[in-house]
């Protein structure tokens, strides 16, 4: 008796006992759920099987980054969908980041009008559900842009219509290797040059316009190679043939609407995160930087942003995750993402709800965890070191 009451009175052992009990109930609950599913599946005469992944999908997908036709398997259809999810998330994240950072900084501007515009943008955008943004953009594109036969033409090479945007597609010819080679050389040069300048600055204090020099090198070296090798790139111009344009690169209204909606919506949140990050930096930092004579742009880039970044990155990560997960709303406008292919048509054609949903959930989970891991790595790079 005294033995047990002693254990219970000891804080450490009590903690362990409580945790064991909680763990036991958690395990019991989970196993009960599993048994319930199994019992119900048995009652319905269903089993859990993933064989359907390897039979032909039988349906077509309108946008594929890897080769796909309707004889390919459900698995491949799912991968095509996943890549489409990745594509829209990628574009969306770029748009949201650029727009968000710009807006966040503008919001803090001393210019009354600019700051108010950013303020209203943020308030209007983030207080409307994302699904409405998506439907709105899709509606705007398909209802206001003309039919392909009356498409808006920009210089007879780029076309806007309610079937999407068509731009010329560069086709490489022999001799392009020289351009690639020069590009690689330019990159290597830039890295070495940046290191050299850093060293030089550390030693002597002399600064070079590193960015502009590197920028010109990376732009012009491949350009020179391009002309030297006799312009080995031709353009495939989209042309109206039958019902639609053929050739060129195509961005469907669904992809465009989704990118705009996700980018613009998430930008509002990112703007607030950036603003918060900047405001979190003690104003003494700015004053100190100004007092040693740094230009306003240097104050921002060398003193404020590097410190603000530490505050910004964790919430920014969750915005990127949100954007990626929100892209599953694509199904509302018929963009063939992972949910529409594997979690949609494959589910319906095979009737394997449990299996497809589990796979889709696991994929979203791993995508999100990967983004998280990447951002955590970046976060650990920029966090305070050894202080």
């Amino acid at each position: 008796m005294t033995f047990f009451s002693n254990i219970w009175r000891n804080e450490k052992s009590r903690e362990i006992i409580v945790q064991i009990i909680v763990l036991f109930f958690l395990g019991w609950f989970i196993s009960w759920l599993v048994m319930n599913v199994n019992a119900n599946f048995e009652a319905l005469g269903k089993d859990i099987s993933f064989e359907f992944l390897f039979i032909p999908a039988g349906y077509d997908i309108n946008q594929y980054l890897i080769d796909y036709n309707n004889r390919d398997s459900h698995l491949r259809a799912g991968i095509v969908g996943l890549l489409n999810t990745g594509l829209v998330a990628f574009f969306g994240i770029i748009l949201a980041t650029v727009l968000g950072i710009a807006l966040g900084i503008i919001r803090l501007s001393k210019n009354w009008l600019a700051s108010k515009i950013a303020y209203w943008y943020v308030e209007f955008t983030r207080n409307v559900p994302i699904l409405l943004h998506i439907l709105l953009w899709h509606g705007i594109i398909i209802n206001t842009l003309p039919h392909p036969r009356k498409a808006i033409s920009l210089g007879e090479v780029t076309f806007l219509s309610n079937r999407g945007f068509y731009i010329p597609k560069p086709l490489t010819e022999t001799g392009i290797e020289l351009v690639y080679l020069f590009f690689v050389i330019a990159i290597i040069f830039s890295i070495l040059f940046a290191k050299f300048c850093k060293k030089k600055q550390d030693l002597t204090g002399i600064q070079y316009p590193v960015f502009w020099i590197n920028f010109s090198v990376i732009c012009f070296l491949p350009l020179i190679a391009f002309f030297l090798s006799g312009m080995p790139v031709s353009l495939e111009i989209p042309a109206l043939k039958g019902f639609n344009f053929r050739g060129g690169m195509h961005m469907s209204p669904e992809l465009a609407a989704l990118t705009f909606a996700l980018g613009i919506y998430t930008a509002a949140f990112i703007a607030e995160i950036v603003r918060a990050g900047i405001l979190a930096i003690d104003k003494g930092q700015r004053e100190a930087a100004e007092s040693i004579g740094l230009k306003p742009s240097k104050v921002m880039n060398l003193v404020i942003l590097p410190q603000a970044r530490r505050v910004i990155i964790p919430p920014l990560t969750s915005q990127y995750l949100n954007l990626t997960k929100n892209s599953s709303l694509a199904i509302a406008i018929g963009y063939m993402d992972l949910v529409a292919t594997l979690g949609g048509i494959s589910l319906n054609q095979t009737g394997r709800e449990m299996e497809t949903m589990l796979i889709v959930m696991l994929i979203y989970l791993s995508v999100s965890l990967s983004i998280s891991a990447l951002m955590n790595w970046y976060n650990s790079k920029v966090k305070l070191v050894g202080r």
Partner: protein, 337 residues
Amino acid sequence: MKTKMLLAGVTAGVMFAGSVLASTLDDVRARGKLNCIINTGLAGFAAPDDKGNWTGFDVDFCRAVAAATLGDADKVNYTTATGKTRFTKLAAGEGELLSRNTTWTFSRDVDLSQTFIGVNYYDGQGFMVPKALGVKSAKGLDGASVCIQTGTTTELNLAEFFAGNNIKYNPVPIETNAEAQELYKAGRCDVYTTDASGLYATMMSFDNPSDHMVLPEIVSKEPLGPVVRHGDDQWADIVAWVLRAMMAGEEKGITSKNVKELAAKDNKDKEINRLLGKDPLQGLSKLGLSPDWAVNVISQVGNYQESFEKHLFPLTIKRGMNALYRDGGLHYIPPIK
């Protein structure tokens, strides 16, 4: 296996409703209402009227089953389902009957563990285009953008038809008929494809139906019919014979107007007597139905012809394949003996 089961547990919460211990008929009687799963909205088949009541050809069948089992055609709770959610809803027990233009296919019947109890509408997939497009045949659709209602057999038929004819197309998958209509009207698609009955229903809801046409090609067989869950043969028999009773009504000339009269007298045609409960029908008690079940169905809902003419004639749909066999159609029911 272990991980698989563990993962299965995660979504287990949604599966509670799946239990099928008691007989379906008992469940329905105990509740006093039939839960029927119907379309989210397709004129002629299942659409709300101006008073907000569901009406249509598929809705009539829900009503007929309620009349047979509960004696009152109005005792139905309607649950709507998209093409994608319908089988899940049926499997999860959200309804005892799925009456929603569902195509009978091998894999749906066998692999999804459902029971298709018959065909109430023979359909086929067609194409609708604006007349202004100047297309006369589906084979002239090379390169067209095609709106498809997703979650149906339509996607597969379409892929097979175009691949078989070496035609390229751009699929635009849409979740419901209503959204697909909007995209078609906005010109996002050149063509809208679904079952021909759905095309006529959609066309009639347009402001100018005459600006559109259905192309002559019918690219698939779509036998549409009601579906029940696997495993309750009694319930499957009830639903099957309600459908047959409606068709028998047409075959024998029993209508909602004369059914009471025919039920009261001794008819020369003994099949009418058996159907309407005048003469005993062997085994009816095994179905758990009262002798006047068919009288309730035909008096409250009407026979097959009445239901068809009431809901589908306004859409300019003809009987065609859906006539009785004696009129050159495909409906041929087993004798009521």
